[in-house]
Symmetry: D2
Subunit: 416 residues, 4 copies
């Protein structure tokens, strides 16, 4: 299914290019005839696929099929001045632009969901964890604000790529536009306008900054999503239990293991994200393209880019669902704060005692108390009877958490 | 040596962070004492290196060594409110900013050299090649303009990263700035100002968009440089001979093979560029960072980023040298245009004959003539006696090459 | 199409696992009923695909569809003791084993073709090239022997993986086989036997050495193929012209550029090979699998492995076609040996003069002569009138080329 | 320091090659003189490093320095018949062989430690976890047996690479051994013998299966180590607490956060393992080497291979330390088994009830009970009063765990 969709999306994009080119360089009636024939539904995707396997590019097969639908005088104007790579590269940009629509929408909704969590759980203390060990208190609102900040950054980058980075490719056989005589540059401008793509200063057939910039932006987006998914998987562990994925009956359930609430959305995001770095590396390595058309490196790009769009898009959809339905257990968060017997507040105590004792002495006192907590099983409260309650309360050692949440929310609002 | 330099550059950057932090949060005299001690030359790099191997981070060892140089009351204010990761991440940004200076200068000079080549060889025809086969004529000026366009794009991106993407990291143990009480956000702003880095909305200790954006911009730069190097290697082949690397006596020479003019600069660029995609993939894969500090993924970044800066910087220096000294043999370019017996002009003839014969018939005529050229060894000129000379002259089938060169030069001037 | 084939191949492999498991753990009549239903043609691939998207694994959907085809008492025995991962991992091994058949056949035929070239062109001198510069003579037979040696090595490795590396996975929910009571180990042995897979010492659900070893062997195979393809592309360049891809009318042709003989087979191999390293990296990075089933890393493997098998298989088929039809132009090879005016023989002259003059003096003489060749346009023959003809003849400076060819052929015969 | 060691190890290996070559092709007294001079301590590493930066290879600088130490008649025989790549490639194999010694020892010790854990905790029940959720009981012995099995597999592979995969490279300028006249093949055999490396059938200067096989074996080893480290990090979480890294005072401690027992060994392993896949991809992508010496791809290998050896070696040393000192808390394991109120035993109950009720009904009963456990807070024991105790005891639902441990131990003993 995904494959079929992918095939048809590419096919339509290639046809859109031919239609736009015809409007730019063919007489009006031929252009109309060509444009009218450029509808993907009329084509046999499998047959074109087979011809692509033979020729190494789907374009000749597509043009044959298209010519067969045209009156002879219109057919003569088809594809004028273009080379196969022009069609495929421009189609890739169109496909990317179209895929970025829902992807950005899902990313935006995921960010909105994070903003909601940041607001709602602004004052919900939880353990901050470093190297997978409880370290000091944060709030779940701050955690969500961090996620939000990551999503906003990658969304801004992807939106910029969509707005400015996707350009038409039209250069003809070797990038001179020679087969279009004097009309070349005007044709490029016209095709770009028709397709809603940028007009590049030069054809970019072997200077692959544009596809790579897109790939990198997708890579960063996948990375941020992978980070969030990872946090959710960890927080959803049976032994932690601070969040779980919501959703209807049976979601993440297992018939033999009925107690499980598998974080299936997060796992889906993680699985997509795990595949992205290798694909971005392929795009980067493929920048070494010879002369005016590469022997292999260019041909390696199209499916790789499709996979990047598909995987990042799937991850965004799964992440959105996950965040919109996330169930948060603030009681469990509060309970987990206590499992170290208060040791989580050690830094707080050191900070509080430093003005009076000096830092070295303050540390010594806390280390001694910590030893008693760990060895004798008393609580830090008991080990340090003179320290005031506030100093031992997670709620009172949250630093700038709330202000940082405000900043993230403000940045989110202004990026929307 | 490179390692030593790398070590010292990192060390100084970490010290710069501590000095800036002290200025932000310590009393003036303690801050002065700390800042005065923060000079890399006074430290034993090897000892700090050893301590890093033990602890997994160089920061505790560095702080011990630094404390030993301070009066006790100044020492008490050292590193207040910061965690090891704050030091390393901020230092990474400083190191990157400092490495980007020469890198951007070399990239800029390489681009200038391309601009010079584009201007000088604007009208020098050569074979355009696709899939490593001669296809149709271009000019060497257009080739150089393509290179220029790639270099300008990646330079713009890297300059933007340097100007806006490098931010201080300061969050304390879990990103709340709690150990700084109310002073946290002001301290972040102050440290950022001191170090000439951006002030981030939030600490970014596990949201790694910034290092990844830097890595990706370096990756794209390496890719463009790799493309140019590849073209030079191919054009410098013994059998092609259109360019060679200049340079003094012995550069690229071989004592046993005295005829060789090895493209050593291009090979150096290629070797660097070949290593970059895998490193960028490592940075992307390392975005999956748990909670408030990652267990492994963060620790994988620093050396990877150093390698990326070093390899891309080396490539830029080599590319600059290569392009500034490039020797171009326009006679050989002209001679190579003729080795297909004129078949390189086939598209030109088809284009010229189409208005009178229609495209299908025009192609048929040219294909028949091409067959004679290949089978009987006549030239296309002989096989098509009625076609006018201009149609068979590479100089007259260059399309928009000159206009495209102007565009690239114009874009270069406006990006400078 | 490829997708459909891929889907159906996986589906059948999963069904084969269920049938083998039933034979191992179900009563005979239930096992027969299950095995009879396990035929991929009876299933709706799209529906199972949709369920996989929902659940993150195709197994529950497959089992539902399968149960619907079974009498109730047989259905009760279906999938007993297994978990979804058991099905998918065992199916992956089966799919790999089946894909390796044609892949190894194509690699073997490609190696045979190289052996034929090595034999046939054993005495055909050509320029050996280093850093893309002519360096000293070799024979095309030796070039082909090098290719042969690479293909034989990777074929041996892949054959070993197929024979010993593909093992059944059966462990149940957490790898203890607990749901099978005492029958677990016997069931594993039985399923392995039925499926023609190895019986592993332990379930390997999160210890992923096996899929990685397969991926690496595919990666090495793709790398060797990429090297051969690259050489062919370079030797086929218009300016070199030493080989070309054979094949019927129109293969590699271009209607607008009728002179082109594009190395389409080599380009196809290169394009596949370019995508493989990133995919192998994904497999390696995915080895970090948590506890008894991974959250994301495992789920990233299946499509990646499919892509690796498909790309390497396509490359092998293309390479076989390319090598079986390769056209070799020994005249052009001979002619290209002369384009340096004999300088290619510099090392030969140094070697010949060293016994009488000493190496330093011999080099000096040759360097002086080389300078005259390059500056004055004389040939090395003219510049060194006293050197005997044999010393200047490529045919007489081939060292152990012929013996090395024999070794490669001998190794090939013994590996077959 | 690591860099210095790396530099000196490479230098000595290159010198060892020259000494072995001299013994193979020079008169006895010259060979002795050369061998006597081939001691790394006598050379200025920095100067050779600088020359490498100029020339793109350290070999010419090394040879100059070496010649300066030799009497003239010995100097004339230095490096006869070899090319720079021969030196570097053979040195790489020597360096690898030497690095594999401690690496294999550490891997072996780590495996021994796992064997000890498997034996000692054979009957210690703990929660098996899938998708980071508790699923059903295993034993810690089985967990350790799985780790053991992975370590044994990669150790076997690496030992095989060391024994059979490391071969001398000697081919001269273009792989024909021409400068050695008839002596070539004998010289290769002699050098291989001297250096303790395999004698290859052919020079492998551009057929890079050997370095790639080494890289892949290192990659798989890093992957297995990364999996073990990941498990340790997860089991060491504050909320899980089933294992912790032992070690002296302060290991993994934090002065501000005295309660933390950071899994520093596991984090070190994870950080190394995270960097390996990208480096292996670089080695694979670098297999595309042109003709008789590559322009860039070969030059990208040496540092990449060094990094792979260094990172995998560091990981093995850290893993060994971690496993040898691992502290296991079986009480906590037992306690964690109860936190689902017995739901972890659901599959056990289904399995037990199936013979009497049929699987469908058995599931229904358990699902109903599970619902009560989750909603009403009763235990599964209370919800299913008729089920016998054994069915609800983790100890009695361990399937073949003990037998699987035996298998892993047996395989370990026979692989030693």
């Amino acid at each position: 299914m995904a494959h079929e969709v992918r095939g048809r999306a590419w096919l339509q994009a290639m046809l859109d290019f031919e239609a736009a080119l015809a409007r730019a360089v063919a007489p009006a009636d031929a252009a109309e005839a060509i444009a009218a024939a450029c509808v993907a539904d009329g084509f046999d995707l499998e047959e074109i696929g087979r011809s692509a396997a033979d020729k190494g590019t789907p374009v000749p097969g597509l043009l044959s099929a298209l010519r067969a639908k045209l009156p002879e005088d219109a057919a003569a104007h088809l594809h004028r001045g273009a080379t196969s790579q022009d069609v495929v590269d421009s189609a890739a940009m169109l496909v990317a632009g179209r895929a970025l629509g829902p992807l950005l929408e899902d990313l935006g909704a995921a960010a909105d969901a994070c903003a909601g969590l940041a607001e709602r759980y602004r004052d919900a203390p939880m353990a901050g964890r470093t190297l997978l060990q409880q370290a000091a208190p944060i709030t779940f609102g701050l955690e969500a604000a961090g996620w939000l900040s990551g999503l906003d950054q990658v969304q801004t980058e992807l939106a910029d790529v969509r707005a400015n980075g996707l350009a038409v490719q039209l250069g003809g056989a070797v990038g001179t536009l020679a087969a279009l005589g004097d009309e070349g540059p005007a044709a490029v401008a016209s095709v770009a306008r028709s397709l809603g793509l940028a007009e590049p200063a030069l054809p970019w057939q072997t200077v692959r900054v544009r596809p790579v910039r897109l790939a990198c932006a997708l890579g960063a987006a996948a990375g941020v999503m992978g980070k969030i998914a990872r946090d959710v998987e960890l927080l959803a562990q049976t032994e932690v239990g601070e969040v779980s994925e919501g959703g209807g009956e049976g979601r993440g359930g297992s018939s033999t293991l009925p107690h499980k609430r598998n974080p299936v959305g997060a796992v889906a995001v993680s699985a997509c994200a795990a595949r992205v770095p290798g694909l971005v590396a392929t795009m980067l390595a493929s920048m070494t393209q010879e002369h005016e058309r590469a022997a292999g490196a260019w041909q390696a790009e199209a499916e790789t880019l499709s996979d990047l769009l598909r995987l990042t898009g799937s991850a965004a959809a799964a992440l959105r669902g996950l965040l919109e339905g996330l169930e948060v257990d603030t009681d469990r968060m509060r309970a987990n704060l206590d499992i170290t017997g208060g040791l989580l507040m050690s830094e707080s105590v050191v900070t509080a005692l430093t003005p009076s004792l000096g830092r070295a002495k303050a540390r010594e006192v806390v280390e001694e108390a910590a030893r008693r907590v760990m060895d004798e099983g008393v609580s830090l409260r008991e080990a340090l009877p003179d320290v005031d309650d506030a100093t031992l309360a997670p709620e009172s050692y949250l630093g700038a958490a709330s202000e940082l949440i405000d900043r993230a929310l403000e940045a989110h609002r202004s990026s929307a």
